[in-house]
Point group: C2
Chain length 346, copies 2
């Protein structure tokens, strides 16, 4: 109906205009906008007509000044991997938009000195006047932050928390099961000499991936132990880990890196060592991030619905009523691409 006909520069209709045009009181307009009960259908219609005729959009500043809500969701990042961050952000953004909320993004840098970092983090949270926060790893497991939020009565939803899953609403996938499905995939291809590239020590989700992977193989009856080398979720770390695995000891026929960046690094190490993926060696990652399709061959990995997780987290945060503290589990899926294949017969 309403054309993009708002006309003159900077002239915004106010609630007053709507009320006058609809012939009702200010408060009634407010009621319609906020979907409050005790509004007759007729009144609602009149108001809605006036709103769209005037192309009225409520003024957020006035709303938050008068009311108790700010209509802002805070998204907190620390040390972002660009792809992950972008995807989360996109999902959260869409959910905010659907709920007429705005998104405020803040970065903290945990590599700063702890005291400074903490001061900044708590300052950010207490001064930004958001209606709630969405936390991503590793902030999800920062006990100081969680304590502060709880103490202040600020709502928050965590994405893929590793600690105290029952402490707050959260969304995540079953990392262990997901890694297990990858383990079965490699097993079924015929791989028996396997290795894992671990994640950062404090990243507990990475540890769960490792555990799920190894447990699944044990269950399948893998004869020999899985080799494990450290990694740090980065491409360089992947190169180092891959190099280590290829140089010393018996060479694995398949390597599972606990995220895609590491896996890409492992593939680079293989190329350096003159091995062809997947003919000579299989490599698999985890996340299905953008890099999984920016390497050749395309990476076999586990897809986490990252954007969807962001969307779900924001929806959880914005939903009225008492939040559930049980984790909201989303589906992962195994994405078989070109970096895994049956091992050559020796």
């Amino acid at each position: 109906m309403s054309m993009s006909e708002n006309g003159r520069a900077g002239e915004h209709a106010t609630m007053d205009d709507v009320a006058r045009l609809a012939g009702v009181s200010l408060k009634s307009v407010s009621r319609v906008i906020n979907a409050e009960p005790h509004v007759s259908a007729r009144l609602r219609e009149k108001v809605e007509a006036a709103i769209s005729a005037l192309n009225y959009v409520p003024d957020t500043a006035a709303r938050s000044l008068a009311g108790s809500r700010t209509f802002i969701v805070g998204l907190l990042f620390d040390n972002p991997s660009p792809n992950y961050t972008m995807n989360i952000q996109k999902g959260v953004y869409e959910a905010c938009r659907a709920n007429q909320y705005h998104l405020r993004i803040d970065n903290v840098d945990s590599s700063a000195p702890r005291a400074e970092y903490e001061a900044r983090l708590l300052g950010l949270v207490s001064n930004s006047r958001c209606d709630g926060f969405i936390l991503t790893p590793p902030l999800t497991d920062d006990v100081v932050l969680l304590d502060f939020l709880d103490r202040s009565g600020i709502r928050y939803v965590r994405i893929s928390p590793a600690l105290q899953a029952q402490r707050s609403p959260s969304v995540c996938i079953d990392d262990a099961q997901a890694a297990a499905s990858l383990a079965r995939h490699l097993w079924e291809l015929g791989h028996r000499k396997l290795a894992v590239v671990l994640g950062p020590e404090r990243h507990l989700a990475a540890a769960r991936r490792r555990d799920g992977f190894i447990a699944a193989l044990a269950e399948l009856g893998l004869p020999e132990p899985v080799r494990e080398v450290p990694g740090n979720f980065s491409f360089e770390g992947g190169i180092r880990a891959g190099t280590e695995l290829l140089q010393d000891g018996p060479r694995p026929t398949a390597i599972f890196a606990t995220n895609d960046d590491s896996a890409a690094g492992v593939m680079a190490a293989c190329a350096q060592a003159g091995l062809r993926v997947p003919a000579d060696i299989s490599v698999a990652g985890f996340d299905d991030s953008w890099i999984a399709r920016s390497v050749w061959p395309y990476l076999t990995t586990v897809n986490q619905p990252i954007e969807e997780m962001g969307y779900a987290a924001a929806s959880l945060l914005l939903r009225k009523g008492e939040p559930q503290n049980t984790p909201h589990l989303l589906d992962y899926s195994l994405v078989v691409r070109d970096s895994t294949a049956a091992p050559l017969r020796a």
Copy 2:
């Protein structure tokens, strides 16, 4: 001085509290906060002491309701490449933070039908009540949007605009010169058979890179024409372009892809064709995005200070007084890594 001592949940000090503690009027506090003239040093000190004692932070909602500013900068994206977007965002964010501004991010999707896209874009701009906008390509060259902003008297700064450089404040690098420096690098290594992978047709910056590259070679006296194949700034596009260049006709000894993603694709195509980079063929990109260090060998490329561009753009927007419409030029730098080397003697 001030500890993170703001104490009880949700209790924020107001200007009233500050005024009372400092023993001055409300308005005086306001003056200090807004750095208005005509404030004695003594008064300023008293107020500042009270502010930090109370850990006072002005309420943005009230400020924007009462005043004419909203303290929000809008950052508009369309079809974001994750790395580019993240870096711009980071720079803009930091500049906002330095100026006590907040950042609002909005995405539009230009692949939607034109009418819908336009309605959304203009709605976004006119309803979001930002003090100004930062535009990134390709939004920088959307004439409908620019007209609307100008007509509405809304300030904006463009990052790397391609059209009508004098129309608004903008920040950019000299794409042609940057590509030329890459051309000279390849020339000096001894390459004489060169090829370019182009960018999306409408991306004019990509065209400028191509032009600068070719012009520099012509000036150096390159005996034969540079081969050109289409690309679309994506990894897949790079693979296709690379494959095309390697299959038909005389094989180039060096390939310049007009962005890093394409370059990574070209490298993948080389690997598929059994060629080794840089021994058999050199590859160079443009952007120095994150992918340049997520491939092996690490990519030789041109560094655009993307984050800095975001920072500069926001600073320009927030600076008081009449903005300059001459482009704000930032420095690029040639980043020589491992993907380029002297060609083998035939």
